[in-house]
Symmetry: C2
Subunit: 221 residues, 2 copies
């Protein structure tokens, strides 16, 4: 009984680490978006430093999964959780990396704002969408809610629409057609888009763990 | 004996699928670099279409790993192979995605060349480095050579140096300071850099499978 008790505690710990990773990724995106909007150097530095927390949690997750697989014989739903937790954890860690990249872009241009005025609203909305998708993952993991996980791809469509709008504004006639701005915005757009793509990938894994089914559509992350 | 024979055949098949994925990623990068250098639409289309082959191999790999874990009790090196094959396979599939993104950039500007003359040499060298790293993965997997896998991060340093040089040229005074060019080159640079980062991540997994040790340095993918 002791042995099985440990086993179930380990599986709960896998869920707990996925939750921690999702919450760290969500928080990193919220803070990175604020650092970018306000050209807030201290906040940017904090996001960059806190990325190490995600890396540590992800390593802990991998070691735990390896230990459980080596010492137990999980089947069915438990095995789905253990095998899908690895790519889900990798995706969440990557979301943290991308939030840190956004914070680095804010830091690079400090005390200037990395985003020119005509793009601030669109980039801020991309940050909101990204943080919202991460928030959906936090809730879906906490409540083990497959239906909520299944809604994440629709949020990614909103990101894609904002990303297209961003390029339209960037390419429009404007006083600010500097190469530096084009570089910054292209990469910032990419970081937000990839954050959302990764959120979709993680949501697919959570859905699979909970239902043993893959979501309907295949999307290129 | 039949049962164990199947088990060992399955483990060989995991290695075989990793090899296939690495070779598909390498080939995709070689062809994408050529499509970009020559503004070759047919070649770009081929890279984009062939990306589905990587996706299929990766799904096959995941299903095989899941089946082996569910029906056998692998330990030690076999368990390392099975658990590390999942992120290694994901990284190789992502390398194929990035090569396809490079091909899409070539297609978008066809019949023009997406890369302005002053950047063609640098971008071509980035393509060479990327294809070379993928080639090292192919060989390391085929010959199960941990020392070769351990050399991949040094190749990524070469990519980072080229990436910095690319930005220096892009920001230099030039007749071509168009926003469109700055966008294309920023993203092309990012795709090449990420391809190399992913190659480093895969190499770390291969090294871990073969040695049970993590390489010395932690690098942010």
């Amino acid at each position: 009984m002791q042995f099985r008790g440990q086993y179930h505690a380990d599986l709960d710990r896998v869920w707990g680490l996925l939750f921690d990773l999702a919450e760290l990724a969500r928080s990193a995106m919220v803070l990175a978006a604020t650092a970018l909007a306000d050209a807030d150097l201290a906040l940017a530095e904090r996001v960059i430093a806190d990325d190490a927390l995600l890396d540590a949690r992800r390593r802990e997750l991998e070691e735990l999964v390896f230990t459980v697989l080596a010492t137990q014989q999980p089947v069915a739903g438990d095995l789905r959780l253990l095998t899908a937790a690895l790519p889900a954890g990798a995706g969440l860690e990557r979301m943290g990396d991308l939030a840190a990249h956004i914070a680095r872009a804010a830091r690079l241009r400090y005390p200037d704002n990395a985003v020119p005025p005509q793009l601030r609203d669109t980039i801020a909305r991309m940050g909101d969408v990204a943080a919202g998708l991460a928030g959906d993952l936090v809730t879906a993991i906490k409540t083990r809610d497959a239906e909520l996980a299944a809604t994440v791809p629709a949020g990614d469509d909103a990101m894609d629409a904002l990303h297209r709008k961003m390029f339209t504004i960037l390419l429009a006639p404007s006083r600010d057609r500097r190469v530096e701005t084009a570089i910054d915005i292209s990469l910032l757009g990419r970081f937000h888009e990839r954050f959302a793509d990764q959120a979709v990938g993680v949501a697919r894994r959570i859905y699979f763990i909970l239902t043993a089914r893959h979501p309907d559509t295949h999307r290129d992350g």
